[in-house]
Amino acid sequence: MFQFFQDVYLGVRTFLAGMRVTGAYLKNANLHPKETVTTIAYDGSTSLAQGVKVAERFRGHLRLQGNNCIGCKSCMKVCPIDCIWVDTEKSETGKLHVSRFDVDQLKCMYCGLCVRACPTAGLVMTKEWWGATFHTDDGTNLHGQIKHLGAGYYTPEQKLEIERKRLEAAEAKKKAAAAAAKAAPPPPPPAAAEKKAEAPAQAVPPVSPPASPAPSSPATPAAEENPDKPAA
């Protein structure tokens, strides 16, 4: 019988204790000894210009600075998501020329590996983070454009066209080499024919965006063996 009243008393007492704690929270008081953080409202700022503070090592959008890009494609190779696509071409004077430097900011995960891989500190991460737009192909603030290097930004159709042309050129070269091998006497060093056969194979993988980077990795040791080949 006494247990009944003790239970009722405990019920009321503990209920009031709990209500007191949450009641104080309702009045926004600073309370629990273990409590260190509260939720702060995001003020909706979209760039550093609005005075918001970010951390010193904050990793924002990518940007090429200065003329430091040498077209080594290290960033492209190290990117875990393949959101960087670099194309280089040899001009008439033999100088290497970056014709395309695309960064798909929608895919970028801001890991910063490309910045670490860049040997000339040409690729940096800015402190800008606002990328929300109403259309995914709103290109201007999402893709890196290297206008000052004289390069252009290829549309997907242009990329496919260039790839097709390169494939055709590689095929044609292969046919010509095979025809020349048949017509001419068998050339003494079979290594020359192998080198020629390897060259078109190397030309194909780096410029096919839909293909995974796997074909390019076996090609890279071959590229290092033949640094003066025009394809790489």
């Binding site: 003790q6 239970d7 949450t22 104080a24 929270y25 008081a29 000894p33 509260t38 939720t39």
Partner: protein, 486 residues
């Protein structure tokens, strides 16, 4: 006293159709207002939850970004030189609304940021895909939400919003409320069964057990209230708590039923039982999110689910209003002099017995003030329900049953017996001391009691509390273990 029902039935209507229309309009107004309050309550709930949990809650859905932008687009379109007459007409109609809308937005986004979230939620729920399980009992599945909502809203018919604002004043008002709100068990069982889902069925069974069990403490508290007030009519209870014995007396806060000793013990019991009726935490096992997915409304999506949700909040409104009428004096303001000042026509008393023969009639601003008082008190109860939700953890189903049958029902029965005994004792005391002296003694005793309770409440909830006190309170809670529950 003549109410809307009497008016409708005695007035000579041209045709029965206009009578029906009149009734529907009256009920429509009541239901519309309450459903708006229900929607707004979801916003208040989220804000209260956020405050208790030290976060911010919804703060983005303001009037400006939606309706302001819409109006601005219409006005801009109409100002275009190539616009057709319809666009120009729409722009002309919308233009004068822009400045007041901007002003309202400015005020509202400071006072209640993100308040339109309940409309956005409603719109989202309407636009959701209506999924009905293939093997479900389609008719029962479709009908269940409407039964639950109808029973919850049915209680609105007798609520005394003000002295002259009510739909009907049955002479068995409070009995009717208890009866019609118990119909929701049917809807919940239908939902649980028709979903063709074991967990939904379990949730439905648990809900039925819970609601049916907790009808008993509710009924006993209501019975004690009827004993104390002497009438089952809701308006009658309010007038009884006003205690207008002779000119200039009564209407004070401590004369409310809450400060009657037995009712003071029963008020928390009724409140807990009301929480269980609404399936509110800590009694929300039927819809336990972490246990049964969503209990009996697991398979419901979109508007069907929101009907259950609205029914829960509508039950909150109805049970809070009943609690206010039973315990907190209904629409009375609690200040006696103010009550007498607001009367246009004073009540008539029978010379011999001292009973009131004709009720008072209040001036129009008195009626409005009473409406405001009722609304504030009901909302205080709803706020208390929300506060409790974010304080207490959920009960286990056996704990919930034990609480009802082993604690609340014995307490309610004991209080009912004590009240009956006390009424007899009062009669004998009145014969000894004289009615007037007894009145004066009870008046001042109750005033002292009410003052003591108010002072203790203010002291206990005097926040902020120091971290050491928080630890102390948590120790009290921890040392009790799961007591008083098994």
């Amino acid at each position: 006293m003549p109410d809307l029902y009497d008016f409708l039935m005695t007035h000579h209507w041209g045709s029965s159709a206009s009578a029906f229309i009149a009734v529907f309009v009256a009920c429509g107004v009541a239901v519309g207002v309450v459903l708006f309050v229900v929607g707004f309550s979801t916003y208040v709930e989220r804000k209260v939850a956020a405050d208790i949990q030290r976060r911010i809650g919804p703060n983005q859905c303001n009037i400006g970004p939606f309706f302001g932008e819409l109006l601005r687009v219409i006005v801009r379109n109409g100002a275009d030189p190539r616009a057709d007459p319809l666009a120009r007409a729409m722009a002309a109609v919308c233009k004068p609304f822009l400045p007041p809308l901007d002003a309202l937005d400015k005020v509202l986004s400071k006072l209640a940021p993100g308040v339109l979230i309940f409309m956005a939620d409603g719109l989202k729920l309407i636009l959701k895909e209506d999924i009905i399980p293939d093997a479900a009992d389609k008719r029962l599945f479709r009908a269940a939400p409407y039964i639950v909502l109808a029973s919850a809203l049915g209680g609105l018919a007798v609520l005394p919003f003000s002295d002259a604002v009510y739909v009907a004043d049955f002479n068995i008002g409070i009995f009717y409320v208890a009866a019609i709100t118990s119909l929701e068990v049917l809807g919940i069982l239908m939902a649980g069964w028709a979903s063709n889902n074991k967990w939904a069925l379990l949730g439905g069974m648990r809900a039925a057990a819970q609601i049916v069990s907790y009808e008993l403490p509710v009924g006993l508290a209501v019975a004690t209230g009827i004993l104390v007030s002497g009438t089952m009519s809701m308006q009658g209870m309010t007038f009884d708590q006003l205690s207008l014995r002779h000119a200039g007396s009564g209407g004070w806060l401590w004369q409310w039923n809450l400060f009657h000793p037995a009712m003071f013990v029963l008020a928390p019991a009724y409140f807990l039982a009301a929480l269980a009726e609404c399936n509110r935490t800590p009694f929300d096992i039927p819809e336990a999110e972490s246990e049964l997915v969503a209990g009996y409304h697991t398979e419901y999506s979109g508007m069907r689910f929101s009907l259950f949700f609205m029914a829960e909040y509508a039950m909150m409104v109805v049970t809070s209003a009943v609690a206010v009428t039973l315990f907190l004096g209904g629409w009375s303001t609690g200040i006696g002099s103010l009550e007498w000042a607001l009367m246009a026509k004073e009540p008539q008393f029978d010379a011999a017995t001292g009973l009131m023969t004709a009720p008072p009639v209040y001036v129009w601003y008195g009626t409005l003030l009473h409406l405001l008082a009722f609304a504030l008190k009901t909302y205080a109860m709803i706020f208390l329900m929300m506060w409790i939700r974010w304080t207490l953890p959920r009960f286990r189903v056996d704990q919930m049953m034990a609480l009802c049958w082993k604690k609340l029902i014995p307490i309610s029965l004991a209080c009912l017996l004590c009240t009956a005994a006390w009424m007899i004792a009062r009669m004998m005391l009145a014969q000894e001391l004289g009615a007037a002296t007894l009145e004066r003694i009870t008046f001042w005793l109750r005033a002292a009691f009410a003052l003591g309770v108010a002072a203790w409440l203010v002291w206990y909830f005097r926040g902020p509390i120091a971290p050491a006190e928080v630890v102390a309170e948590e120790e009290v809670i921890a040392s009790a273990g799961s007591a008083p529950l098994p």
